[in-house]
Symmetry: D2
């Protein structure tokens, strides 16, 4: 590894996950199993990907950990909050994502991961009910409780660094243009005034994390860190933030497939995406107010990849529709069905149908690993605020719209940005960014 300005990854890294459900426990189990050599962390860029650094004769292909100082799997300690009190082992068994034989070898370690009381507001997730909930007078106190949890966890586990990642449910839609979201001062005032309509519980987690000098990552489509107030806090605390919404099934495919169409200059008339899923996520999204949050997140993908301004003949009239359907027979096995109406030479229509029988948590787990390790890296590299290089992992990537930045949704452009960031942090020259 070259000499860089990135601080080394010494000591323990505490990964604190909000929500100890299917996604969180699949992630934890996999890391613990991989640590013992009993499973492979497939899908993780930090564990598998090799990228080029150098040019011409100096060109070589290296794993990320040979370019930048990443935390090791062995140095990770897990903590969690949840509205249900079951420990990570019980929760993993209940989720039915992994077979028992893939959980049992790390049962003891999982049993020790017991959820702290969650900061929760039933109005933000009407279909959920749980008792393992913090009792607090207002949002400010809610946030203070989380800060204390983080401090206690860090001390008790002797961690040198903490990352907080949200892997809980989608909250109802909170528009991100409210005045109180505009500045840190107004946000803090609203928390103290207990403005429950505009301050989602997730915002308390984010505020607490950043205040405790921990990066915060939003894995659901909640607008938690999409607001200027949080950017101000991140700048003040010099901490990275990333979001939003883990890019797993259908959007992963869409962000990779749309570039195929665009690269070949084929036209697009319409794209219809529907999903069936039966896990708790699906149950929550069956509620229109929660689906709205998701829909906003999912719809933006296409228009930034196939741009009607650039190619009006090809993308000037695209009908894009996204639907999610709660369908219990499938449990965690989400199924996506995409119907893509393209056209070619002389406008003649053709159809592509993609049927993705995926597993939500299996696709999400490596994203948690990569996002936490890379956010920790970014913090040590002195990168704070919005982490554009993590767009690759996210369905609706953050961008500073106040500066006219556009989201990058094209999977391959996101990959280029990711690689360049790794190169630069490793002291290598970056390539041309996106073209």
């Amino acid at each position: 590894m070259k000499l860089t300005n990135v601080k080394p990854a010494d000591g323990k890294l505490g990964i604190m996950v909000v929500g100890c459900g299917a996604v969180a426990t699949t992630f934890m189990t996999g890391v613990l199993m991989a640590r013992k050599g009993l499973a492979k962390p497939v899908g993780s860029m930090t564990q598998y990907d090799k990228i080029r650094v150098g040019k011409g004769n100096d060109k070589k292909y290296l794993h990320y950990s040979d370019i930048v100082p990443l935390a090791k799997l062995n140095d990770i300690v897990f903590g969690t909050w949840d509205i249900y009190p079951q420990n990570a082992y019980q929760s993993a068994i209940y989720a039915e994502v992994l077979k028992e034989k893939d959980i049992n070898p790390v049962r003891e370690e999982l049993e020790k991961i017991v959820p702290m009381k969650a900061a929760f507001d039933h109005n933000y997730a009407k279909r959920l009910d749980g008792d393992n909930v913090k009792d607090c007078k207002n949002r400010w106190e809610m946030m203070e409780g989380i800060r204390k949890d983080i401090r206690d966890f860090k001390a008790k586990n002797n961690c040198s660094r903490i990352v907080v990642i949200w892997a809980a449910s989608t909250e109802i839609y909170v528009p991100e243009y409210e005045p109180i979201h505009g500045t840190l001062a107004s946000l803090e005032k609203a928390m103290k005034d207990d403005d429950r309509e505009h301050i989602a519980p997730s915002m308390c987690y984010a505020y607490a994390a950043l205040s405790e000098e921990a990066p915060f990552i939003m894995g659901a489509p909640n607008t938690t860190v999409d607001i200027p107030a949080m950017w101000e806090l991140a700048e003040k605390t010099k901490m990275p933030i990333a979001g939003k919404d883990f890019k797993t099934g259908q959007t992963l495919v869409k962000s990779g497939f749309a570039p195929i169409i665009g690269t070949r200059c084929l036209g697009l008339n319409g794209w219809f995406s529907t999903n069936i899923l039966g896990n708790r996520d699906g149950l929550v999204l069956d509620e229109p107010a929660n689906f709205r949050t998701k829909e906003v997140s999912k719809l933006s993908t296409l228009e930034t990849i196939l741009k009607s301004d650039d190619q009006p003949d090809l993308y000037g009239n695209v009908y894009h529709k996204v639907r999610i359907n709660y369908y219990p027979p499938r449990n965690d096995n989400k199924e996506g069905w995409d119907n893509i109406d393209i056209f070619g030479w002389m406008g003649y229509p053709m159809q592509i149908k993609i049927n993705f029988l995926c597993r939500d948590s299996i696709l999400a787990a490596p994203l948690l690993l990569d996002l936490t390790l890379l956010s920790d890296l970014a913090a040590r590299a002195g990168k704070f605020g919005i982490q554009r290089f993590l767009s690759f992992f996210l369905k609706s990537p953050m961008h500073d719209y106040t500066k006219g930045e556009e989201a990058v949704n094209n999977l391959f452009e996101q990959y280029t940005i990711l690689k360049n960031a790794i190169r630069e942090m490793g002291g290598y020259e970056a390539d041309q960014e996106v073209d």
Copy 2:
């Protein structure tokens, strides 16, 4: 446009198409209609794509024709050979690819495109039979006949340049490692000796084209220009060659979809691809000897994109199978069905199914336009021999295996190579090639 060393595209460009079937007539009709503003040449990179040139503040996005001197649609003249004597209008109607209302406005021009007698050998396409065939004593005479056709056509139509492109059927498989294919001298001897087993009729077309200083493009999976003897001839005549097999339906999708899997470090257990198609191409491929030619061409795609050497955990054990089925009810509307067995975190399996209801000729037509215009450009730029930058358009792209070159099948890597070639011919700096 910057000043470059590429000769200008003055005068008429004669595009001579071997085979006047569905693909050729869809191509010709579209160009003639587009010329009148009655149709859009969707899918054509030369007509639609915009790429970045320059860096930093000099960065701009330009159409190819604003970077390099491309022949204009108005300067194109069409010629053709076929074993059936029907003119291009009759053949277009018979093919039933385009609606009559999209053909009739250029009926007169199409009727004037009458096939010259084809160089044909029934043993190379047992399921075809036609009378409009050259009478010739041996392969050398066959080739001489084609040369005369080219000269006559060029003179009669007052063309300044000619490109020859193969859009006829797949011939039976001719292994490309025969000794007589090794040098130009041995090839010429075999032609004169009338070695019908090793000299496919397509080789006579290629030899004739290059000798008449016309680039030659192989649109079927025939190994015609995959042999060192042809490379020697291309070098001698300073002419470009390109091949092989137009990248249309299923392979287009595969070469774009496999990178999605690879980029995200997901694993692959198997990929099963089947096709149903009912046109003459399907009929020919129902013959095992002809299918073999196609299968060799189609199977290579995956292994160069998802490399088992680089990622043995992920791609060390992939079962890849490709099937083509003649199924007359569909006519030209080819349908592909791909089943992709991937795995993720801890090895858990998932499935992706892609059903592509495509139109073979609609996808191929813009490739003919781009390949002929870009080959003509390459010739004027002094680029001869194998044109690696045209890999983007081809199912089984040429590469000089005697020099240890590997085929590039990843659609997005092919695109980078294409863009860099355009940039360089336009006098701009290229990017890092492939990573």
Copy 3:
């Protein structure tokens, strides 16, 4: 043909269609073309089906018209009402269901079919707007206007009999249990009182038809003739009624596929059905109040075929969901996607996915022909009220729930009932009805 008590089909049969859109014009065009021998009425039972009559040595297989006296295609005269004034030719061209070459040979006849002013209430179909609308003070007057239209049409065209069939849009949902729907007297009073909330325009058509001694058929999911008041009227006028909702794409498949599962004693966990369609029907159904009408009609299918009471182990816990999505790129080409979660031996799960790329009007047209011809037959046979034997053609077949009758949705049971009715009207013995 045996001697039966059915009156002969002498003279002209006037078929008056409510709504002159895609379905109606496809139906009319096909009949006119078939009459000239220029098209085949594929999908029509009255024109194609052959059924067994007699037993043992007397067994023979006959077309319906060789068993019972059916009106001939040549004796049909078409009339129509619509809120748009375009004639049937213009409307057929606009619909883009049929190619122009399949319409033009009967252009003159279609041009003569000009819509009469429609009885319309914008509140029942908010997404539609048209000017060719009757001006009327109340529902009673609306109905009287329709009666006059029927009388005038019958006289002018010298018809001996009339059938009225609804092929217009789905109205908003009208629950069929309102007190005013309970008796003919209360219905008539409500019409005179202009109770617009409970009297849909479609009820005025039905009332008018029956009063003019014409059978009435409801082709949309409207509850028009599902109410006791209409049954009373049908009894009084001795006229047949039939409904509701033409059984075309997805439900046709469901009513045929569910019996496969049931016959083999396989279990069912869930059935998810989604549809995309882009025609006016789709636009109307995008309005939740109108979709509700459709959903009620579509959901009932499964539970009467796979009965949880009979086989609790197999069908005791079925999750059934139906979705319809307006998706303009498809126009009239409706596409259904069914995901069926079955289970077998020891409860092991399996999946069946059915993707139906259908054409709504092409599937509906023969139903209009069969329903009108067979309703006319039933009237001549003295069968009045609910026509259970027409269930075969309908998505949500009528049944007299006040007598505890159950709907029959199993396609093959419906077919048995249809055949038995034909047999009996033809003077033959019926089989055991349903088992």
Copy 4:
């Protein structure tokens, strides 16, 4: 139960299965588990189906066992032959069809089911190799060895009756019109002469079973009992025979779906069926000579359901193609993909695609249970020779072609025949058979 002439099902029933692979062990495990109340025999008609008996007021719906005397699950004893010596427990674990938790509760019983040495000829299944094979000089001796096995098993287990069922691999294709297959005498002579080309090992099993007064059922597509010599033997021994090929995935769907098309008088242009499967069955069928046997069995289905003679307009020009592809990533999870090209009103085309993700052994297991119990019933009812009423369970049902009988492939007609046979054996009146 009414009094009938069927002998009671007293004593133990020995079910001897040829082949102790995935299908056989799934069957055995399920029966043993069901016996303990630990699993449900879903998919089994004898355990679940209820049918009508009686008419009018006497009509009632009964399970088969309430109509006829069926052997009870508790009275079953299993025996088996296989070329591999592993016991049924080991084989069930190896097959990976059932989860271990669904096998372990009956582990002890399964371990006691140890394969006897198989009668095997490598030339009939080139891709298989196993050592647990009988050593025998000729086919006659092979058959004698099997007879001895049956006698020994029956005595040792104190069985009152035996049924032999083939659940082993598909052998290479043996045309059923050879002279030596014509009479029992010529068959016996050929066995003694060791005519290995015309006497498949499966014929030795069938001959042995019938000679020992055990019904014989052919579950693979082998033509074993399709020959007059076997019919003669069955008549001589008064034993039932049934075959061939368990109707599991794609053909089950086809035999149920084609009637939907036919019943609605829709037209058919083509039907393309492809399969991927990765179990031993798939491996064997990858050999062209073995696939041929299967193809003949699978192709016949359509033409007897949608008859071109009866409806030339609709079924006069159908292109039917069936493909099977060995694809190891799937193991026992067979996947079928059907593409059905139908046409409707005025000949307009539509498409239906069916994707069946099935489990071969899960669908086959209940067929083994039903076929053995019902064959045993038939034997006690004095029904011998071809058992047409078992067509319901078979892909290519037996029929006496020498008497001009046609195969019945329509699932619902097969069901009617099955029900009538149960009714008649139970002393009730049958319905009209098929219409």
